[in-house]
Amino acid sequence: MLTLVRRVSTALGLAGMIALLFRLRGRGGVPPQSGGWREVSEAELS
């Protein structure tokens, strides 16, 4: 039982540390600022 608790707490601790690392060190970057939908004009259809 004690072994299980120790393993679970180790796994949770490791997951937390990795998440913290990503949160502090991660660079999300800038979402795309261009692109998207553009209506087709009548000139393009002729």
Binding site: G36, W37, R38, V40, E42
Partner: protein, 339 residues
């Protein structure tokens, strides 16, 4: 020239209004609900151009009609189309039921023998989706993959068909074979034109692949998906738990075509946002006008087989149906093309 319109639901009544300014001489309207038929006939008469006779018909018979438009719920289109073709009428079907679409294509020989046009899928999807696929394919040397997506429904009959489609297996054309896939599987997040935005789309029993495959038999993959929520998927195997909306719009379609130009591979994405009932009606009315004017090829075919999709989109634009191309972020100068 006489046109017979059978089915005056959300889409059918919009078709009738769109045809009120058409060049037909007579418009004969029928719906199985007498009150609906009376109301729609009265409202169309009020706005009809001078010289257009609008009448109500108590039976769905297309006797004497040059063009018959079938906008009634899916299920009876094939038998009605056969009767109309036998009587020498051109037929336009808005059915989106895959089994029925296959039955309609089975009437191709009869249509050719009669030298009449049988248009299969002249609505939103199939219909506008097929015109978009043809338009986009025109920018490529060879088409490899076509994926269509749709969201929204027209009237109650369309909503029931939508519900029915999600629980049934749909067909995908993969490397020269039809492969059956479970409805509600294969989640794919698709971005539709604004303001619809992103929707989770799933496989379903949809008719688009059957129509598109006839126009693009060399394509390696043709698939269709429709948007659904978790609740839609959970309740798809149950009867509809509440009555469907009178109009399930706004909706949208997205058509992704991947192919080759020269030595490079390109994906071009086109879409449209509109109320499905309104857009489907615009497509059907435009097709009816072209069929009546003898501008449609004889035999059975979908709109992806019709020549000059640009001309068709121009005419639809004048009816208020606007289409858009997706401009990719990687190649912002090349509008609508993602390398």
């Amino acid at each position: 020239m006489r046109l017979s319109l059978i089915g005056l639901g959300a889409t059918g009544s919009h078709i009738a209004r769109q045809l009120s300014q058409s060049s037909f001489d007579e418009l004969c309207l029928h719906d199985e609900v007498p009150d609906t038929q009376l109301k729609v006939t009265k409202s169309v008469k009020a706005i009809a151009r001078d010289g257009l006779t609008v009448t109500g018909s108590d039976s769905p018979s297309a006797d004497g009609a040059d063009v018959v438009v079938l906008a009634c719920p899916a299920g009876s289109h094939a038998s009605m189309a056969k009767t109309a073709l036998d009587a020498g009428s051109h037929v336009i079907s808005l059915s989106d039921d895959p089994g029925e679409v296959q039955s309609l294509f089975g009437l191709g020989d009869l249509a050719l023998r009669q030298n009449r046009t049988l248009t299969v899928g002249a609505g939103f999807a199939p219909g506008l989706s097929c015109i978009l696929a043809s338009f986009v394919a025109g920018r490529l040397d060879h088409v490899d993959v076509i994926n269509t997506y749709k969201t929204g429904t027209a009237g109650p009959a369309c909503a029931r068909q939508h519900h029915h489609a999600l629980k049934n297996r749909g067909s995908e054309w993969i490397e020269g074979n039809w492969v059956m896939r479970s409805g509600g599987s294969g989640r794919d997040l698709a971005w539709f034109p604004d303001p619809i935005g992103a929707k989770d789309c799933y496989r379903a029993a949809l008719a688009d692949p059957y129509v598109l495959q006839r126009s693009f038999p060399d394509a390696a993959r043709i698939t269709a998906r429709m948007a659904a929520t978790r609740r839609d998927r959970l309740t798809s195997r149950l009867p509809m738990l509440r009555p469907p909306h009178q109009d399930g719009g706004p909706g949208a379609i997205r058509v992704e075509v991947r192919g080759r130009v020269g030595g490079s591979v390109k994906t071009i994405i086109a879409g449209a946002m509109d109320h499905p009932s309104v857009a489907a009606a615009a497509v059907a009315a435009e097709v009816a006008g072209m069929v009546g004017a003898g501008q449609a090829p004889p035999g059975a075919g979908g709109l992806s087989a019709w020549p000059d999709p640009k001309a068709m989109l121009t005419k639809l634009r004048r009816r208020g149906v606007r289409v858009a191309l997706y401009r990719g972020v990687l190649d912002s100068d090349s509008i609508g093309e993602v390398v």
